[in-house]
Symmetry: D2
Subunit: 452 residues, 4 copies
């Protein structure tokens, strides 16, 4: 694909999308602030999901929720206490009890389709969960100053997911208004539990939600891109998190030390060995046994140990190389010390390969927006993101995918108590992403983005 | 010294002591059961100490308590919560508030002297603390059946210290009655916190309490000796307990792993090295890193780690060999991983050498008791006992010491929730120990136990 | 059994044996010095065995050699170079080529029976091998001064086996002379390769040589016992030696480190784990990875590693406890690092239990010798001795066994280049051991040493 | 600097250089083959240096050798046996004995200056040493087939240094012929011991040889670049090699294990820790303990250990991060095990930053050669190269430097026994490198390459 200066359809669509997004500015900010006031943790997005579902249904979308939208068996981990507190909050906020019950059983994902006749399917993914952060109450912190501070102590939208959901509703409004001119399906996926890579994306993919997607668009505000910048393809590290348990045998270390099976030394040995794995010529990685707990008494052979470890790798290949060692290292340590071992994955997100041509189209759209000054094709983010499950699944099924960054000046870094973003970026993001949908589903588009 | 069949004084004293102890049987059992009902933890023996002090004062003993009886700075460790609960219990039980205040500041030791003119000093040591054990409520458990069950949930005299204190009061009664016939001093030392080797004995010795002792007599009920058995010299393992802290530097393991200082791996490495120390040809030992805690998050280099370890050795020499390595092993691991380390001793008791001639005298006395069938000169107990501080200190100052076992059939092992002992042994023990005092302080005794 | 002052037979036999041994003194010293001049290494005792066989045959013994006397498949290890050199030396010394060929194939053991009619079998075991020590040439060293210095550079009888074989020949002479008065069989076993526990004793046992033995007598000169001392039962440590091999995969550590399998780190990890095995409450042990070799190049993942380790334990039970861990520790380390492992035992000797009554008889004999001043029933030797194979095998089959020490003042410690012993002890040892044989095979003996 | 299509001087110079190099083709091949026949190892390049010095002197260069050309104290390591053999070979080949003596003492570097009046100094570096490889004798191997096979068994020019030296002589010929038209100095540096990073480059820099260099040009044939390719700036890994020694204390592991200081376990522990160092976010690295040797006997605490390790890092910063840990890791392991340690660097080469503008000029020259089809500005070579000492030293002193690759099809990979290269590349390389010299020292050049 090469940039065609004469693609008048694209020019027209970008202009229209820009105008429509401009008209939504007040609503975008309103949605974002409402979500900000009511942060809900991963797999506890009850109120959030109910609101989204209602709004999308009103716009004519077909909405799937709970076990129709995700396979709860495929998640890695759920924090019972935080989720229960969120459910209680949602109940008090008036969320329908039957719906709560469904979501408690089947999860909090929302998948909404706007079907506009024959044509390709474009899917957008947004994340809904907040972080276990106590929001700043400093007077200079805008949510505090302007009255949309978190109403839940210890929970905060400190990463921008509130804004992401506003983007989703903005796109929904625009494509719903343009429905008659589109050929194909616009799918909006609202995902629980992106933070901590606990399995929200994985569980939605496991339900087959993106198996028929032709264009998979993931997005984030900020992440190193300032207001006025746009990145078409942000890549992420492949990552995994594990708990490893060692069960040995306690023994009185004076009377019968020989009957002990030392889980502490087994775990210590395993931790050292995991950190001593050879490097991979295909790329950088970092493994970290971040937590160790073992034993209870000085006079007793430690009968148990727990390791918690994380892995981040530049490429899926390097990631998998380390993961393939994990089982052998742990089992070997267990055998050496006569200790039973078990490994439990509690998080993870693969890396992903993104589509160059789809990225180029996104760049071309972004370049046509007056507020965009810097457009980058690809950047590397040294972090994990489970959106890569969507990108990989779509690619496996023949689709194309990209992960775009909508630049946004930040008041403080992602995950900080005084995090806040430039709300102007909501309109910009809505414009760019809507334009992608309007163009790719336009029957008259001339670009060759034929599917592999 | 050789056994003289014609030592009529000894024969007479043993018979008198046997008779006097027989008359005390009801009281001995009563004292024991009262202590059993009111168990108090190490350094929390407030009610216990107050009672003992009162009784001993009534008998004419000069009583020292608090900082006159021990140096609280010399203890290793105190469990704040258990001690505070015990103090509250003692307050409610009516212990004088001023005395409580003194003991809170200066400790719960009780040292009582019966001075009977010029002559040697014989000291007896008894321990006062209970164990953090919830006593059995089974109907077959005699304290339950006979109504002297522990009145404090989670605390129990499960080792026999209640009986030891009854022995002390029994001896006090007998020697007080014989006061006019004695030449010298009888000292009764009631020690806090024997369990866990937290420093009770050490702190009393640090106050100089046994510096002038000629005969140091420590004792225990049971410990492998059945009713009808007597052991003159039980030896113990030398033991120590330590907490080791590692302070490193946390770092984001993706963004700046190179700035981390990994306390978890330092501690893991140290734990392996401590267990891999070479054996000692002079005797057996067991070292155990029983507890490890390190780090908080999978994505952060562990910035801290804690090890808790115990050591038990057959001889003081072997014990010291391991202890001398400790600092090097820990510092070395710290240096290897760029981590600060500190070592804190939280418990310990040395081994001790006991006096053969004094042991022989004790044997001779025991053999003359009708209820004693088996007399042993020496046995090895594979456990620690901080009475060894008393034995060592006395020996350093030229005195002689022994640690005797008064045989007693047990309902269950020491430290078990259904532990109980044969209360007949209280009278037996009182008879033997009193006879030792009466003989050794008798002006007309012929045995040569001249001091070194 | 109790000592009977009126056992006139025993008194008479000891006196006769003492006299006979006295007459052999010159010969005993002559034999010893001849062996000393011609030291031969383990499994290389060609000249030694030929001489012994000839002498014993002359005395009327039935002699078995080579594969009739041992099962060469049951040895642990043979040093090809030292053995070949010894064979060449024996050939030059005129040993029959056919006999050499037999011994090369079947080993250098010599087993000689003197059958004297019906009755029990008493067996004596002597070791034949020298040490790889260069003998002192100092003028004060008696072998140098008196002209019986080793004629083989780098080989020396530095442990006393030369004396042991002289004892064997002395006993052979005495019992042959008394043949007509004996009822039973005297068996003399000359064993190759005691040093290093390479399997000489094990291989003779594997041929069934002691399966029918009633009284198994092993002995050593010195070993802590001075001239004038006698020990009836010396016990030894159980010991084993192993080679452990690790085979990994080399890889260029820049271009493809991920394909490597690091044998060096696997072996390092295994070495640490072996040294960190828990102690055993049943007794002391020492394990030592004494040798490690791994890898060839700085730029290549080490593809191989070798550990050599030894184990010494106070009891067979403790020994076996460690050995049972060995396989798991090594396999576990192999699995952790993706490395193949193999374990090969290259030496070993079990501990043994000896017979108290037989020991008492030996004590009684020794006490009746004028030159013996100190008699001890039992001592512990902190060393390994593969004679324990004989003692254990005999005991398994219902026999009784002891390992006696014939006290002998030493010029320097066993295995030292200036080692030498008091040759008077040859006559003493011959007297005691011969008396044992003469008494135990005497038809008229009254002692009850009936077999279990 | 921007590419000027109208730089007629450059066009002219490249054409002239191309023509001159073409005329030298036969000679270039002849020189190369002569060097190929007579390979000499690092610091043993006696014949090679003598030949080069003679030829360069004949061309009018001022030649420095031995301690005038390098500081022998600054090398890391010298293989005594290989160097001695090489010297004997050179002596037999007729190299002057006085010159041999000088080189034996001061090293085998050759530095030759052609001074052509005032102006900048351009230096070219070539390496002279061969590899310890036995050259293929296969009939299909051109050196074998065409009669220029190595005449020294076990030594071979298997990396292309023979060709590098031919390039040097080619450049010498051309610049000498153009001497009158140049303003400045052409310096040719022939370096011993590039292979193994033993310190050849470091020692020449230590003599100050490149302190006054304005343009530092290093080069290599092949290295991934095929015939027809040219790379202006090849970057290399920073690398180091170390020997680490551990000296403990042997002890009899039964009689006195407590007196041992275990060097084997110290080294094992250090090896594990070195492999477990945290990654660096600034780039990839690989550390490898490739060799370990420790201890001699199973029954003795290992008193010594040796590790040999190598490090390769993407950037000097990452390299230095690891090196800074080295001392702490080793010392810490030593302290933990009571063992003395020492670290000895035996090789190393830093990474280097190269000059973009000088690289661009080289590209422009290469693009003008008819045989060059592919020109690359920069590539990363995952290997170490001690030419970086020259590049760094020149840069420190304000000069510019590049490391160029002259593409050359290879018969087999570098360091393989059947390595051979495309001899056409000798003429190409001579043309490009000579053009650089002729242009940079031309008084009329218009390019702004003013020095920093």
């Amino acid at each position: 694909m090469t940039l065609g200066a004469d693609d008048s359809l694209l020019v027209e669509i970008v202009a229209a999308s820009r105008a429509a997004a401009g008209e939504l500015e007040t609503e975008l900010v309103g949605w974002r602030r409402d979500f900000h006031r009511h942060p809900e943790p991963g797999f506890g997005e009850f109120r959030t999901a109910a609101l989204l579902a209602e709004r999308l249904g009103d716009l004519g979308f077909d909405v799937r929720m709970a076990d129709q939208a995700m396979d709860i068996e495929s998640i890695y981990h759920r924090d019972r206490d935080r989720v229960a507190a969120a459910e209680e909050g949602a109940r008090q906020a008036g969320v329908d009890v039957g719906l709560l019950s469904l979501m408690r059983a089947g999860g909090t994902a929302v998948v909404a389709d706007l079907k506009c006749g024959e044509g390709p399917t474009i899917a957008f993914r947004f994340d809904m969960d907040c972080l276990p952060v106590s929001e700043s109450t400093d007077a200079s912190h805008r949510p505090q100053r302007d009255g949309f501070h978190s109403q839940v102590v210890g929970e905060m939208h400190a990463c921008g997911h509130d804004g992401h959901m506003a983007l989703g509703l903005g796109i929904a409004s625009i494509v719903a208004a343009e429905r008659s001119r589109l050929a194909g399906t616009v799918r909006l996926i609202f995902q629980p539990a992106e933070e901590g890579a606990l399995g929200g994306a994985r569980a939605i993919c496991a339900r087959g939600v993106v198996d028929d997607v032709d264009y998979m668009i993931c997005s984030h505000l900020g992440l190193g891109a300032s207001s006025g910048e746009f990145v078409a393809r942000a890549s992420f590290l492949a990552t995994s998190k594990y708990q490893v348990r060692f069960v040995g045998q306690g023994a009185h270390v004076v009377n019968s030390p020989q009957t002990g099976r030392n889980a502490l030394l087994a775990a210590a040995s395993a931790a050292l060995a995991l950190h001593a794995l050879a490097p991979h010529s295909g790329g950088w990685y970092s493994i970290n046994v971040g937590v160790m707990r073992a034993g209870d008494e000085q006079g007793v052979t430690p009968a148990w140990a727990l390791l918690e470890l994380g892995l981040w790798a530049e490429t899926p290949q390097v990631h998998d190389y380390v993961v393939e060692w994990l089982d052998d290292v742990i089992r070997g340590a267990g055998q050496s010390w006569g200790v039973e071992t078990s490994i439990n994955q509690i998080g993870g997100a693969p890396g992903a390969v993104e589509d160059a041509e789809l990225g180029a189209l996104a760049c071309e759209i972004a370049e046509r927006l007056p507020e965009i000054g810097v457009v980058r094709d690809a950047v590397v983010c040294r972090a994990g993101e489970d959106a890569t499950f969507f990108l990989n699944r779509a690619a496996e099924r023949g689709g194309r995918g990209i992960y775009v960054l909508i630049g946004s000046d930040l008041a403080a870094g992602h995950h900080a108590p005084d995090f806040d973003f430039d709300e102007q970026s909501l309109s910009t993001g809505t414009a760019i992403l809507s334009a992608l949908a309007l163009y790719l589903l336009h029957p008259a588009r001339t670009r060759d983005l034929s599917l592999r």
